[in-house]
C-alpha cells in the first residue's frame, strides 16, 4: 500500500491527464506491462493449482487447455453466433438500463420527495433475484430476446441508478451555486454541473452493472435455454459429462470472462478519457 511510502519520485502528476494532453506513452506502457504481469501471474497460479493434482484434472483441467479450447472454439461458427447473440442482448440491455437508470437516478437524487416516494417500491423490487423472474417473464414474453432483455435490464438498472443517486448527492454545492449564480436554469445546472460531476460515479455504476448484465444474460440463457447464446451453448454442452464437453463448458465460461474483460477495459478507457479529471483533479494517488 502506498500509504506507508512517501510520494514516489517520478509520477508526480498522477495518472494520465484528460484530453487535450497527450497521454504519457511510457506511463501507459508501464500500466499495460503491469496488467499483463498480473494476468500472467494469475494464469500461472491456476495452472499450478490444476496440475498439482489436488483435484482430478478431468474436473479442473489446466488453465492452458481451457484457454486453448476457448481459442479453438472460436473456429466454430455456431459458437461465434452464440457469443454474438449474448453480446447483442448485453448491449441492448445496457443501453436500455442506462437510458432508464440515469435519468431516474438524477431525479431521485435531486428531488427528495421523489426519492422518498419511490423508495418503498425500489427497495422492494431491488432484492428480487432477476433469475427468479425468469419463469414469470418467460410466461409473459416467451423465450425470445425480449425476455432476456427485460431480465437483464431489471438486473442492470439498480447499480447504475444507485451510483447515479450517490453521485448526485456528492456534487460540490459550490459548483452548483456557481452555476446558479450565473443564471443557469435548473435544468442547465443538472445538465452542465450535476451530471458531469456525478459522471465518475455513474460510470462506476455502469461498470458494475455491465458485469452483472453479462452474468445475467448468460445465466438466463442457461436456465431458459433458447436457441442461442453462450449460456445456451454451455447448457447444450453440459448435457454430456464427458471430459471434452466439460472443457468446452469451461472454455465458454472463460470466454464470457474475457468478453467481460474487454468490455470493462473499454469502459475503463472511456472513463479515463472522459472523466480522467476525477482521478487527476482530485489528485488521486
Amino acid at each position: 500500500m502506498a500509504i506507508a511510502t512517501p510520494a514516489p519520485p517520478a509520477p508526480t502528476t498522477g495518472p494520465t491527464p484528460p484530453r487535450a494532453q497527450k497521454p504519457r506513452s511510457t506511463a501507459r506502457r508501464n500500466a499495460v506491462l503491469r496488467g499483463l504481469a498480473g494476468v500472467v501471474g494469475l494464469i500461472l497460479l491456476l495452472e499450478i493449482v490444476s496440475r498439482s493434482g489436488l483435484v482430478n484434472t478431468n474436473f479442473l483441467p489446466p488453465f492452458s487447455s481451457v484457454l486453448w479450447k476457448a481459442i479453438t472454439l472460436w473456429g466454430d461458427e455456431v459458437f461465434r453466433a452464440d457469443v454474438l447473440s449474448t453480446l447483442l442482448t448485453y448491449v441492448y440491455g445496457m443501453l436500455i438500463a442506462c437510458a432508464i437508470a440515469i435519468p431516474v437516478g438524477v431525479v431521485l437524487g435531486m428531488f427528495r420527495p421523489a426519492y422518498r416516494g419511490a423508495r418503498a417500491i425500489v427497495e422492494l423490487m431491488r432484492p428480487i433475484p432477476p433469475v427468479a423472474l425468469v419463469p414469470l417473464v418467460l410466461l409473459v414474453l416467451g423465450a425470445g430476446l425480449e425476455m432476456k432483455l427485460v431480465i437483464v435490464v431489471f438486473a442492470a438498472i439498480w447499480p447504475i441508478m444507485f451510483n447515479t443517486l450517490y453521485g448526485v448527492h456528492d456534487v460540490d454545492p459550490y459548483a452548483k451555486e456557481m452555476a446558479r449564480s450565473f443564471g443557469v436554469s435548473r435544468f442547465g445546472v443538472i445538465r452542465r454541473v450535476v451530471i458531469p460531476s456525478a459522471a465518475p460515479f455513474v460510470v462506476t455504476g455502469i461498470r458494475i452493472a455491465s458485469s452483472i448484465a453479462l452474468i445475467v444474460v448468460i445465466t438466463v440463457e442457461l436456465i431458459a435455454g433458447g436457441a442461442q447464446g453462450i449460456g445456451a451453448f454451455i447448457s447444450r454442452e453440459r448435457a454430456f459429462s464427458d471430459a471434452e464437453s466439460y472443457l468446452a463448458v469451461l472454455a465458454a465460461t472463460v470466454t464470457a470472462g474475457l468478453l467481460g474483460l474487454v468490455i470493462n477495459l473499454g469502459i475503463g478507457w472511456l472513463e479515463r478519457r472522459f472523466f480522467g479529471w476525477d482521478a487527476t483533479a482530485r489528485g488521486g494517488a
Binding site: P127, I128, D170, T204, I208
Partner: protein, 287 residues
C-alpha cells in the same frame, strides 16, 4: 428558472434537525417518512389486488394471498415460527450475512489498496475485470468441486461474488480523494493505519457505501443462486422447488420474503449510513 430559494433554508433547517436527533418535530418527521414509504406501496398493492381479482391468472395470484401464504409458511405451528422459518429463511439469512461481511471486508481492503497505489491498480485491474465478468452462476460448480457442498462453500461463493461491487467502488472512491487531504495526513505524520481509518476511508465512504448498497442486493441474489444447486434448505432451494412443482403462490411468497428481507437489510444500511455519512449529507445539503 432556479430552485425556489426558500427551499434552501428549509432544507438546511431540516439538515440541522436531522443532525440532532431528539429535536422537536421529529415525531412528525417519522410520520411523514412512514407516509412517504407506505402510501405509494399501498396504492400499488391495492391496484394489483384489484387487477388480479378482475382478471385472475394462476401466474399472478392476488397480493393478499401471497402475503397470507408467506405468513403461513413462516409463522405458526407449535412455536411462533415454523420449521421452514428456521431451516430455510434463517439459513439463507445467515449465509448471506456471513458471505456479505467477508466479501465486503475483502472488497474494502483490496479496493483501498488499488485506490491508493497506481502500481497495484494497474496490476490487478485486468484480473479483477476478468474474474468479475465470469458469470457467478457458471462458477458455482467450480466452487462445489473445490469446496464441497457445505455452508462454507456457499458463504465463500457469496463473499467472492459480493466483493467485486465493494472493491470497484472502494477503489474508485479512494482513488479520487483530493490530494490536499492525503497530503494533510503525510504532513502531520499520521501513522499509516490512522491515515487509512481517519482520512482515506471516511473520505471514500460515500462511494464505499454506494458499493455496499449494491453488494447487499448481490449478496441476497448470490445466496439464492448458491442454493439453487446441491442444497437441501434455504430460500433459493424453496424457490427452485416451488418453481419445479409449479407452486406459483409459493414462488411469489418467497419472492415477497426476499423483497422484505432486502428491505430490512436496506433499513439497517440506511441507519448505518445516516450515522456514518451524516457529515456528508449535511455538508452537501448546504445549497
Amino acid at each position: 428558472m432556479t430552485v425556489a430559494p426558500e427551499k434552501n433554508t428549509r432544507k438546511s433547517e431540516r439538515a440541522e434537525r436531522a443532525a440532532r436527533p431528539g429535536r422537536p418535530g421529529r415525531g412528525r418527521g417519522v410520520l411523514v417518512a412512514l407516509g412517504y414509504f407506505f402510501i405509494p406501496l399501498a396504492v400499488l398493492v391495492v391496484l394489483w389486488q384489484i387487477a388480479t381479482t378482475v382478471a385472475p391468472s394462476p401466474f399472478f395470484p392476488p397480493p393478499v394471498d401471497i402475503a397470507e401464504n408467506l405468513v403461513k409458511l413462516l409463522f405458526g405451528g407449535d412455536a411462533v415460527f415454523t420449521e421452514v422459518f428456521y431451516n430455510d429463511f434463517l439459513a439463507t439469512v445467515g449465509r448471506m450475512l456471513a458471505g456479505y461481511a467477508i466479501g465486503a471486508a475483502w472488497g474494502i481492503v483490496v479496493g483501498t489498496a488499488m485506490g491508493l497505489s497506481q502500481g497495484s491498480r494497474e496490476t490487478v485491474t485486468p484480473i479483477v475485470e476478468f474474474l468479475r465478468s465470469i458469470p457467478a452462476t457458471a462458477t458455482l460448480p467450480l466452487f462445489i468441486i473445490l469446496l464441497g457442498g457445505g455452508d462454507d462453500m456457499r458463504i465463500i461463493f457469496i463473499a467472492y461474488g459480493v466483493s467485486w461491487f465493494v472493491l470497484i467502488n472502494t477503489a474508485s472512491g479512494v482513488g479520487s480523494i483530493h490530494r490536499t487531504m492525503l497530503d494533510l495526513g503525510k504532513v502531520f505524520k499520521i501513522s499509516p493505519a490512522r491515515r487509512l481509518f481517519s482520512i482515506v476511508l471516511p473520505a471514500a465512504s460515500p462511494k464505499i457505501f454506494a458499493g455496499l448498497r449494491i453488494a447487499s442486493t448481490a449478496a441476497l441474489l448470490l445466496a439464492i443462486v448458491s442454493e439453487f444447486i446441491l442444497a437441501s434448505n434455504g430460500i433459493g432451494f424453496q424457490l427452485i422447488q416451488a418453481q419445479g412443482r409449479f407452486q406459483l403462490l409459493n414462488m411469489w411468497s418467497w419472492m415477497l420474503a426476499l423483497a422484505i428481507l432486502g428491505l430490512l437489510i436496506n433499513f439497517v444500511l440506511d441507519a448505518v449510513e445516516n450515522r456514518v455519512l451524516s457529515w456528508h449529507k449535511l455538508s452537501r445539503q448546504k445549497i
